[in-house]
Every structure is written in C-alpha cells, then in structure tokens.
C-alpha cells in the first residue's frame, strides 16, 4: 500500500476558477509556513530583538510576547527549526502552518472593504505599512497586517478560513473583488 499524505488546503474546493482579476483581489496563500513564537516568561525583549525582520521570515505582532511568523521561503519544519535555533531559550516555537490560513487583500478599495468588518482606523497615518495587529473582523479574530498602501494580509484560524472568505466577499459586495489561490 502506498502512503501519500497529499496536503489539502482549507479552502480547496470552495474557491471557483476566475477568468480575470478584478480591481480588488483576494489571494489565498497555499504554502506559507507559519509559526507562533511565544516569548519565554520574562524574555519578551530578547525574543523581539531576534525576530526583527529579515528576508527569510516576517514577524507579526499578535500580543505581548507573541508573534506570528510567516515565511514564503521556508518549509514549516525548517522555519520552526530555524526559529528554535535563533531563539534558543528565549521563546517557544510552535508550528502553525496547518493551523492558520494566510490571505492577501489588495486593491484600491481594500481599506474600504475591510472597514465593513474591521473597526480599527485603517488610514495610512494610523495603521501604516508594516503594522500588524489581531483584530476582530465581524465575528472572527484575524491577524491583520498592512503590507502596502492598498494591500493587507489576513491570517486566520484554519477552521474559520471559509467563513472569513465568505465574509470578505460580503464585505466587498459593493466593490469589484476576485478570489483565487496565489501563484508564486
């Protein structure tokens, strides 16, 4: 018997093919490695210092001493191994590559669409590029990061991914939106 554990994405089978991208586009990332780093008690500053951005991964603030780490270059296991080596006793590293789903909403109306479900002020002076935060989007908690003037990343618990995409489509009802898996 052959054993092949082909991974299924949480949104497989829920996103139809699109003929063209529209003004605003929601890209679902298939293979982002995601880890959560919890600073060891009393070691928040040390861990934060190690997690400053580099080309291999990006650290997104979730709470005091807690970050989501996203990497497009590492596989989940190597990301966790890499982080564990760098952080040593300063933090605990937990693989969440299967536990979370990462999405990117980009387009001229991105902030306006998000304002239909997210309460924080998304004005670029208030929530600038590089800022990340856990926020409520309608009924769901998501990690929101601004990656460009009109581009936002959303990271959500896997089991809620379908609900979030549904919500985003509804939020974008008055705007042009297409949804597809991201191509790399």
């Amino acid at each position: 018997m052959a054993y092949d554990y082909q991974a299924v994405h949480a949104l497989d089978g829920t996103i139809g093919a699109i003929s063209e991208r529209r003004a605003n586009h929601l890209a679902v990332h298939r293979a982002t490695a995601i880890a959560v780093v919890l600073a060891a008690p009393g070691q928040t500053a040390e861990a934060a210092g190690i997690l400053v951005a580099n080309g291999e991964f990006e650290a997104r603030f979730s709470g005091p001493g807690e970050w989501l780490i996203l990497s497009e270059v590492h596989a989940p296991e190597t990301l966790c191994a890499e982080l564990s080596v760098r952080l040593g006793d300063f933090a605990f590293v937990i693989d969440q590559s299967h536990g979370r789903v990462a999405l990117t909403l980009a387009g001229p109306d991105a902030a306006r669409i998000l304002a239909n479900g997210i309460a924080i002020d998304l004005h670029a002076d208030v929530f600038p590029v590089g800022r990340a935060a856990n926020v409520l989007c309608n009924h769901l908690s998501v990690n929101l990061a601004r990656t460009a003037a009109d581009s936002f990343d959303l990271v959500v618990m896997r089991s809620f991914a379908e609900a979030l995409v549904d919500d985003l489509k509804t939020m974008a009802r008055s705007h042009e939106l297409s949804v597809d898996f991201a191509t790399r």
Binding site: G63, P64, E66, A133, N134, V135, L136, S141
Partner: protein
C-alpha cells in the same frame, strides 16, 4: 468604555473585541484562608456606583486580561492596564 476600550497592547478597540468578567477588586485568598474570606471573594461585591475596577479580556486581540478602571455611571475610562501587573507578577 461601552463603545471603545484602549488596550494597553493593541490601542483603542471596539467593545466587541473584549469580553468582561466582573469586579477586579477581590483577590483570590490563600487556600486555607477562612470560610468568610473565601465567601467574600467568591460571592460578595461592593458594587459601588462610580469608580470601579473590572476585569476585561481582549479576547479577539492580544487575549490579555486587563484591569479597566472606570466610572460605571458615566462610563468614563480612567485607566486600562495588563492584569498581570496588578500583583507585581512577571509576564
């Protein structure tokens, strides 16, 4: 307070992001403290009108438990702090 709460970690957020537990004044007694002390802790509330301290959790944000010091008649917030700092504990 009833619309927005300034989270010390995340900034000002809507009330929907928080869940509230209740009076933050009672401190859990030592295990062998007297019955009355435990009864007071669990069941008895000063419940004044005016300035109070209340436990809220930023449940859809950083998930930290906060102590919100506020007026329960005007709903004005005086301060919000991380609950773990209350007893001088580490984080």
């Amino acid at each position: 307070m009833a619309s927005l709460i300034p989270c010390p970690h995340c900034g000002t957020r809507p009330r929907q992001e928080f869940s509230v537990r209740g009076d933050a004044t009672p401190v859990r007694p030592a295990p062998m403290a007297a019955d009355e002390v435990w009864n007071d802790y669990m069941h008895v509330r000063a419940n004044p009108r005016g300035r109070i301290r209340e436990h809220w959790q930023h449940i859809a944000g950083c998930r930290r438990w906060l102590v919100v010091e506020r007026d329960n008649f005007t709903h004005e917030v005086f301060s919000v702090s991380d609950a773990s700092l209350e007893q001088g504990g580490a984080r």
